[in-house]
Symmetry: C2
């Protein structure tokens, strides 16, 4: 069973010049629970090559690796699954291609969409953007902050795991977890941190704190 | 065995407001030999949905359907294969995912790359850009016109089918075919034509004329 406490979404461009492999290695040392290869602005060939390296790093440490959008890259690098948004292939199609054992995640912002994704067979939900972040390229739909009340409603509406995403960092991760969310998904809170390993650990501690509330 | 005489690459944005389904229907009526779903600027979900429709149209008429770049969309719509460029997944990876019967094509502009693609298992090559077209978004690398001599060298260097692409229309398709190329690949020569069916037929006639030379 996958733990969802701290879910890292990679983004080379927001890693302060450091390579994504270096960020992922540090996040693993800091106890990251899931890694998603995103890098939407990088060509497929380069994402594939990066993915092969991340697969090696994550497999060695037993961390699930998810690929954003591209089911074919997930297959090619033997990832554990895919994460899909509104503009990506439907959950059912990804399931057909990847099989029952794959992890298929879905981004949603509304209770009805969350229920629909669960019915369609999603294994978990990325819910957000919780907080507005200003950097539109970070996370799908993040320009519309949904807040903690909506997140809580979604957590109550579905029985699959939920991770809150969008503007989450160590200062608010406890509140996110206190809504009933299973974890937090972040980009820059880890990729942009001076010490990504410590940042990952701080996020994990905050999630644990919030969960006990 | 696939005939390659006239290979249509779809591009909604260059179809003068007409739907790609309408263009493909007309091209089929005009005798098109292969259709490639490209639409790089359209989200995966929309490409998938368009692809399902194109699959129905092309299957009914026995025309092979190829998907640009996305192996997963090709799988999802049961296309006949994929067309890959330098920035897409490697030919060998697509072959692994799609199997021996799939058509895997590769864009190349140089003799050495053509030989390498053939060795990697490509079933055909899209070679270009033959002529400069000015519309940079049309076809990969089209900004660098390679001309007919280079095309001829590539045709001589490989034994797999070659289609010339980039700035090809009914006025120069015969010359392209006269180099030994198996056909011509076009976007706007069909999608931008007042009568796409007649344009397809004119291209086919020109290729036949050039081949007899
Ligand atoms: Ni170009």
């Amino acid at each position: 069973m996958t733990d969802w406490n701290v879910y890292l979404v990679t983004q080379q461009r927001h890693s302060k010049g450091r390579d994504t492999r270096e960020i992922v290695r540090a996040a693993i040392a800091g106890g990251v629970n899931v890694v998603q290869l995103r890098e939407k602005d990088v060509p497929a060939r380069e994402r594939y090559e990066l993915g092969l390296d991340l697969r090696e790093l994550t497999r060695d440490s037993g961390v699930p690796l998810i690929v954003n959008d591209r089911v074919d890259i997930a297959q090619a690098i033997d990832a554990d699954g895919v994460h899909l948004g509104d503009e990506d292939l439907p959950v059912e199609v990804a399931r057909d291609l990847l099989g029952e054992d794959a992890i298929v995640g879905r981004s949603v912002s509304f209770v009805e969409d969350a229920r629909e994704a669960e019915r369609a067979g999603a294994d978990y939900l990325g819910v957000g953007a919780i907080y507005a972040t200003g950097s539109k390229d970070d996370i799908d739909d993040e320009e519309h902050a949904i807040g903690l009340d909506r997140l809580e409603s979604i957590c109550e509406a579905v029985s699959i795991p939920v991770v809150g995403i969008g503007g989450v960092d160590a200062s608010n991760a406890a509140m996110v977890a206190a809504t009933g969310a299973d974890g937090v998904a972040v980009i820059t809170a880890i990729t942009g941190a001076t010490d990504p390993e410590a940042a990952t650990r701080a996020l994990g501690d905050a999630v644990e704190t919030g969960r006990r509330r």
